[in-house]
């Protein structure tokens, strides 16, 4: 079982969290002309790396905050967690 360090609550069991996917994907900015390709890349296309992966998690059964986790997708080792507006 994963033990995830919520930046607000500390180490908690995986059961309290839900997953939000790749945190490196950037939504095209508002008010700017956006090509179809930029939208498709944002919505569907992913790097999907084996190894270090930055991702969103949601402490859904806890403080209900979204935050970022840097995790190894092959070993599940968690390197770091951070608040949503911080670089990871």
């Amino acid at each position: 079982m994963l033990e995830i360090k919520c930046p607000y609550c500390g180490n908690r069991s995986q059961n309290e969290f839900s997953y939000g996917g790749d945190a490196t994907v950037k939504r095209p900015s508002l008010g700017k002309e956006v090509s179809d390709k930029e939208w498709d890349d944002f919505v569907y296309f992913r790097k999907n790396p084996r190894g270090k992966h930055s991702e969103f998690w949601h402490h859904v059964a806890g403080c209900r905050q979204w935050f970022k986790v840097s995790r190894n997708t092959a070993t599940h080792e968690i390197f770091k967690t951070s608040k949503i507006n911080e670089e990871i």
Partner: protein
């Protein structure tokens, strides 16, 4: 190639089964092939087999990083079905069902095809209505589908929870009588044996480390056993697709996720069908050895680890116990995981790529095993003719750009949201 029959079995019994031919060769890779298939799983083996059989392209290599039967083809829950609503899926998988029906004879290898029927339980009137709609769509496409009522179900799956106190009472079910199971590693071995007999080189322990591309055309691949040239290369590596695509600077609409399955200790026959739980994601069948073969949800986060985590297993099995309360008394024998290439609309891609001579086959999500014959059949056509077959022309990569998604269930990689 030695033909397998009752006579060859008896003949070999006299020599204590010491003189059987090897089932496939262990060839040294040649410098060049007419086609290379990367990935010696079920789909790769089937592709090579149909390339040789249907398209007379025999000078083919299958490059497999591990060993034949060691990947997802040996890790699934062996279910076969074509109970889909959309035409693109229904017609595709139904062609697959027709290939399954004759596969043992065609391969001269007993794949233990068992059309025992797949039952999707419904737990509300609304769900029964959507199942009826799907059943009607299936029948319009010539696929067998029947609706079952609660009383009929009591007769054929008496151990399901029909009590008044059931949290998810059983209202009825959609059944595809021709759905069922097959022995998964026999499928891999059977395809490998026949492909090998037709001249296909199955090269195990050979990892592809890079691609040679010039002027937008594929020239060959670099491997741990040297460079191999070919004008046609098919990518058939399921969960590892993104890793190879990265070497081509391609991003694909998939995420890798681990899906677990498990079997219980063997018990006497009590389940004659494949049954799926309609109020969650759980499915089970009973193997010929008597084990309950069970599976359900993804673990729910990107993973390349071929092993899973206990919370998901507990969740899946609690659904199983809600459906068949007597499962709670069984001990688990084994659990394992495989890496799914989860596509963003839940449907696969079998297509050409932007590189001439490079063909893609990925995005099988939970359902790769049942597609093994038809995926190979259509992928072989796509490679041989350099254009998709009518059956896979909708499984295009650019559907994610054009908006022609095949969103059968309305869920992609985040299946727990649906």
């Amino acid at each position: 190639m030695q033909k397998y029959s009752i006579f060859s079995l008896i003949r070999n019994a006299f020599s204590n089964h010491q003189n059987w031919d090897v089932v496939w060769r262990d060839p040294v890779p040649k410098k060049e092939y007419d086609a290379i298939i990367i990935g010696g799983g079920g789909h790769g083996l089937a592709t090579a087999y149909y390339l040789a059989k249907e398209h007379k392209i025999n000078n083919v290599a299958i490059l497999e990083k591990g060993w034949i039967g060691g990947g997802n083809v040996g890790r699934n829950t062996t279910i076969l079905r074509s109970n889909y609503m959309w035409d693109a899926n229904g017609l595709f998988y139904e062609h697959g069902m027709k290939l399954w029906e004759n596969l043992s004879q065609e391969l001269n290898y007993n794949v233990m095809y068992s059309p025992r029927g797949i039952i999707n339980l419904a737990h509300s009137d609304a769900q029964l209505n959507t199942y009826a709609r799907r059943g009607n769509s299936m029948r319009l496409n010539g696929i067998d589908a029947v609706m079952l009522g609660r009383e009929e179900l009591k007769k054929i799956i008496p151990f399901a929870d029909f009590s008044e106190s059931a949290r998810f009472p059983i209202f009825g079910a959609l059944m595809q009588p021709r759905g069922g199971t097959a022995r998964h590693d026999a499928v891999a071995w059977g395809y490998a044996r026949q492909a090998d007999a037709m001249g296909v080189d199955i090269i195990q322990h050979c990892e592809v480390t890079g691609f040679d591309v010039s002027n937008g055309k594929i020239q060959g691949v670099q491997t741990t056993r040297g460079n191999i040239k070919s004008k046609k290369v098919g990518l058939c590596v399921a969960g590892s697709t993104s890793l190879l695509a990265e070497k081509l600077n391609m991003k694909l609409p998939i995420e890798a996720h681990v899906l677990q399955a498990c079997v219980s200790e063997p018990v006497k026959p009590f389940l004659d069908h494949v049954v799926t739980f309609g109020a969650g994601h759980f499915y089970c069948s009973q193997s010929d050895k008597g084990e309950m073969v069970m599976g359900g949800d993804l673990d729910g986060y990107n993973s390349y680890a071929q092993r899973g985590n206990l919370p998901t297993l507990q969740h899946v099995l609690s659904e199983g116990v809600a459906m068949f309360p007597n499962l709670s008394r069984l001990k688990m024998l084994r659990t394992w995981g495989g890496i799914m290439d989860m596509s963003m609309d839940g449907s696969p891609v079998i297509d050409k790529s932007h590189i001439d001579g490079l063909y893609l086959n990925f995005g099988w999500c939970y359902g790769g095993f049942k597609a093994t014959p038809v995926s190979g059949w259509t992928f072989a056509h796509t490679i041989a003719q350099d254009r998709p077959h009518k059956l896979n022309e909708k499984f295009k990569l650019n559907r994610f750009n054009t908006g022609h998604l095949i969103d059968e269930k309305g869920v992609g990689t985040k299946t727990w949201i649906g």
